[in-house]
Amino acid sequence: MNAARGLWFALVFLALVVLHYTLRPVLDWRASIDFLAIAVLLVAVRARPGVATVVGFTVGIISDSMTPGAFGAGALAFSVVAYAASSLKAAFFADNIALNAVFVFLGKWVGDLVFLAAEHRLGGSEFLAQALLWSPLAAAVTAVVGLAVLVLVRPVVGTPRG
C-alpha cells in the first residue's frame, strides 16, 4: 500500500468512525448499521493479524468508553473479530461480492455474540432475541452497507492483500 492509498484508507476509516457517531444516532434503528465493524473489517483484511487485533482492540475500547457498563466487552469482540478476519481473509476476500457480504455479516454477528456473552447484561429470552433476531438483522444491514463501502472504496484503497 503506497502513501496515497494509505492516506485514502485513513480517510475512509475516519469517515466510517464519524458516521458511526453521527448517522447511527440520527437513524436510531433497532437493527442499526455498525460502521465501526465495517471499519475494523476494512483494516483487518489489509493488515497482519497482530496489527488488526490492536486496531480492533483500540476501536473497541473507544467504543466501550461510551458505555462504561460493558467496558471491555467491545474491545474483546473487536479484537477477536479483527484477528479472525485478518486470518481468514484469504478464504473470504476473493473477487466475489456475495462472499464479501457474508464476511461482513459473520464478522458483525460474531462480534455481537462475543459482546453479548462478555457483558453479561442480557439473559434468557432477551439474550436469545438479541442474539438470534436483532443481531442477525443488524449484521445484515451492516453487510449491505459494508458491501457498498467495499465496492466504493476499492478503486481508491486497492484490493486486500492476499
Partner: protein, 354 residues
C-alpha cells in the same frame, strides 16, 4: 498480540465498577471528546427532527386558536354594538340573521332568516350598527330577501351629516374593486364636500329614515355635468361582514331613527373622552408619583443625625410678629429673628473634636 488484547479486554471487564468508570471517563475526556461531541450533536439533531412535527402542530393549533379568537372577538364586538343599536331604537325593529350565499348575484342580495311572521314588511330598511345595508325586497312567511347597496337598483336620498349638501346615493358601477363603492350624485355645485365627510340618509322617499350612515366621502368624481358635483363614497357597511342585521319596520321609520345613530356616536365619543380622561388621570398620577419620589429622595439625602450624634430637628417656620409701631430691631449679639414665614435655621452644634 491476540492473547494480550484478549487479556486486557478481560481485565477491563472484571475491573471494579468505579475504576472502569474512571477509565472510561478519562477516555471520554481526552481521546473520545470529538466523537462524544459528534454523537451528542447527532442525538440533538435527531430530537430536533422528531420534535419539529410536534412543535409545528402546536404552533398551528395556537395560530388557529388565535385566529378564531380574533374572529370571535370581532363578532362579539359587532353583536355588542348591535345590542346598543337595538337599545337605542327601543322598538319597531326585527333582528335577523343574514344568510350569505356564495353564488352569482349574491353580492347584490341578502337572505334574512325572518319573514312576515316576525313582522318584516317589504320596503323596510335593513341596517347594521355601522349604517345602512339595504332594503327588504321580498318577504315570505319565514324568510325575506333584501337588496344590498351594491345592487344596481339601489338608491337612497342622502345628505351630509351637517345637512348642508343633498344628493342621491347610487352604487358605483366602476370596474374592479371600485364596483363595491358608492356614488353621491347631484350635489349642488356650491356644496363642496371634503374627503371623510359622513353621508347619512336624508329621509326623503319614505323608505329609509333620516340619519342612517351611508358612507364617507373619498373623493370627487369628475363628470361632464357642470351644475352638480358627484362624489365617490366608501360604504359604511360591508354586506359580507353583516351577519346579523336589524330590519327597521316602516312605522318605526316614520318616527325617525337618527337619534339611534347619534346615541351610538355619542356613546363612542364618550368612550373616547373617558379614555382621554383616563390617560390624563394616569399622566397626573404618574407626575404625582414622580414628584413624591423626588421629595422622598431629597428627604433621604438630608442629614438626620449630625456629627455629634444629636438628631436634627426639622426646621420650623414660626411666624414672628414684630412689635406694633416699632421697627424690628435686635439687640447686638443676639441672633436676628427671621421674618414671618421664613424657615429658621437651627443652631449648629460645635463640632466635637476627638
Amino acid at each position: 498480540m491476540l492473547v494480550a488484547c484478549v487479556l486486557l479486554s478481560l481485565v477491563a471487564l472484571v475491573l471494579p465498577a468505579p475504576l472502569r468508570t474512571s477509565i472510561a471517563g478519562g477516555l471520554r475526556g481526552t481521546v473520545v471528546v470529538p466523537l462524544a461531541e459528534l454523537q451528542e450533536r447527532a442525538e440533538v439533531s435527531r430530537r430536533a427532527v422528531l420534535l419539529y412535527d410536534a412543535s409545528l402542530r402546536v404552533a398551528d393549533s395556537v395560530r388557529l386558536q388565535a385566529s378564531q379568537a380574533e374572529v370571535v372577538a370581532a363578532e362579539n364586538d359587532r353583536l355588542r354594538r348591535l345590542l346598543g343599536l337595538g337599545a337605542a331604537l327601543k322598538w319597531g325593529f326585527v333582528p335577523a340573521e343574514a344568510l350569505h350565499g356564495r353564488g352569482l348575484g349574491d353580492d347584490y342580495t341578502m337572505t334574512l332568516a325572518v319573514g312576515r311572521n316576525e313582522g318584516v314588511e317589504p320596503f323596510s330598511a335593513v341596517v347594521a350598527p355601522e349604517g345602512l345595508v339595504g332594503m327588504i325586497e321580498a318577504v315570505d312567511a319565514r324568510s325575506s330577501v333584501a337588496i344590498v347597496w351594491p345592487h344596481p337598483d339601489f338608491r337612497v336620498s342622502a345628505m351630509s351629516a351637517d345637512g348642508t349638501a343633498f344628493g342621491i346615493v347610487y352604487p358605483h358601477l366602476g370596474p374592479g374593486a371600485t364596483r363595491f363603492l358608492l356614488e353621491l350624485r347631484g350635489v349642488a355645485f356650491r356644496n363642496e364636500l371634503r374627503p371623510g365627510t359622513l353621508i347619512v340618509s336624508a329621509g326623503l322617499g319614505g323608505v329609509y329614515p333620516k340619519g342612517i350612515p351611508v358612507g364617507t366621502v373619498i373623493s370627487e368624481l369628475r363628470t361632464a355635468e357642470a351644475w352638480a358635483r358627484n362624489y365617490l363614497l366608501r360604504p359604511a357597511v360591508r354586506p359580507a361582514d353583516a351577519t346579523t342585521v336589524l330590519v327597521v319596520q316602516p312605522r318605526r321609520s316614520k318616527e325617525g331613527v337618527s337619534s339611534a345613530w347619534q346615541t351610538a356616536v355619542d356613546s363612542a365619543l364618550s368612550q373616547v373622552v373617558a379614555a382621554g380622561d383616563s390617560l390624563a388621570k394616569r399622566h397626573a398620577d404618574s407626575l404625582a408619583t414622580v414628584e413624591r419620589l423626588r421629595l422622598d429622595s431629597l428627604q433621604a439625602l438630608q442629614p438626620r443625625v449630625d456629627s455629634t450624634g444629636m438628631p436634627v430637628k426639622p426646621p420650623v417656620a414660626a411666624p414672628v410678629r414684630p412689635p406694633v409701631g416699632a421697627p424690628a430691631k435686635t439687640p447686638a449679639g443676639s441672633p436676628a429673628k427671621p421674618p414671618a414665614g421664613a424657615a429658621v435655621k437651627p443652631p449648629v452644634a460645635p463640632r466635637a473634636t476627638p
